[in-house]
Subunit: 209 residues, 2 copies
DNA sequence: TGAAATTTTTTATTGAACTAAATTTTTTAT
DNA sequence: ATAAAAAATTTAGTTCAATAAAAAATTTCA
């Protein structure tokens, strides 16, 4: 039984996040001021500070919201019908990139990535990393399935492989948002080349032993 | 024949970088002001701005300097005596981490990584990425050697594999500097687990075909 | 040496994030 | 309905990065 005050608080927070997102998209992150966001919502700048602490805090709240949607979508999209590890990861990565540019833009994503690194210890960065973790666990579960199907060696740790693949995806994602020129296809191509090389790096084991 | 003015300019820049590094280490990045750096060198804050544009510009100049040293060291350290791909990368990564914490500290490295992402297009971020590229090419050349020795499959692209390994190293490096708690051993262990899983992910090819 | 060119510094301002404290408004509970 | 509690706002101020424009200093070159 959430009291009226609590509901109003949540409503205000929701409005802040919505208006902030709109302003960031319209004017860019740096050009948007906290006072501007507050004015758009009809609150004082100090109130926004009270809720989110810093401008980066507001940004990460937007992303947390958007990432929750991505997580849902990913669970559904990767519903166990891809039988090749490489294709699985490329699919995963394509969904992440598409979601990213649909909800925000590259310039803003650069600020997001930077903020999560600089303020690693902040509450907002922590929820971001939690969502990242959950996202990577989707991959881990898919790897487990491929192991059961004999497509991936049963001897390795699905967790380690899932995480490793996620990292490669993430690196190329950061490169993707870091350059306004880099196309979705470029990013996909580069990720394919990374993963493919790693998966086939070692000479066939039978021959080597 | 560099004129006097040019020499003085370089001398001033060197002093700025040195003093800035000292102050960043003493007081932390955020607590250090451009005016403070300028005062320590005996220049005006505006002059520092003229040279480096922004505070992040000064920071990246420090890193460029330090990374040049790392590149030299890496060339010598990895002089072709490791015959296992995984051990090679772990060695590479250990050198990078050790160099990082010796020259700067984690808190500052977080700012570095963030700055190179946010200001991707700046002159300073570009030289940073160039040095990163050269660093990764050291790995590519080592992979080529392992291919010649039959330790790595001749069928894959050494470039792709070198880059892929570098990315995994880089991701774990960023995680390493992002957490003050994470030890060097932790970072090494996690990287080993990533790479190892990826290298042995696929079931032995002979059996599969 | 002295005039011209270039650089640095001084001076002044702006803009914005963030903070502190007092006041007002709103909500809750008696 | 009213007192008490909690939250939001106002007001005021600090700090610092960044920029602009004019003045001063330095260097180059004829």
């Amino acid at each position: 039984m959430a009291g009226l005050r609590e509901r109003q608080k949540q409503d205000r927070q929701k409005r802040i996040v919505e208006e902030a997102r709109a302003l960031f998209m319209e004017q860019g992150y740096e050009a948007t001021t906290i006072e501007g966001i507050a004015a758009a919502v009809g609150l004082s700048g100090v109130t926004v500070h009270n809720y989110y602490g810093t401008k980066a805090g507001v940004l990460l709240a937007i992303v947390a919201e958007s990432d929750r949607k991505l997580l849902e979508r990913m669970g559904a999209a990767l519903s166990g019908d891809i039988d090749d590890l490489l294709e699985l990861l490329l699919n995963f990565a394509a969904i992440v990139r598409q979601h990213a540019v649909t909800n925000l833009n590259k310039q803003i994503w650069r600020q997001v990535v930077a903020a999560t690194i600089v303020d690693s210890e902040s509450r907002f960065a922590k929820t971001y990393h939690e969502l990242d973790h959950k996202l990577s666990m989707v991959l881990v579960r898919e790897v487990e399935r491929l192991q059961r199907e004999g497509r991936v060696s049963a001897e390795i740790s699905a967790f380690a492989l899932g995480k490793g693949l996620f990292h490669l995806q993430n690196t190329r994602f950061i490169q993707f948002v870091s350059s306004d020129e880099m196309s979705d296809e470029d990013a996909a191509k580069k990720l394919r080349s990374d993963v493919s090389a790693l998966l086939h790096a070692l000479p066939s084991r039978v021959a080597a032993e």
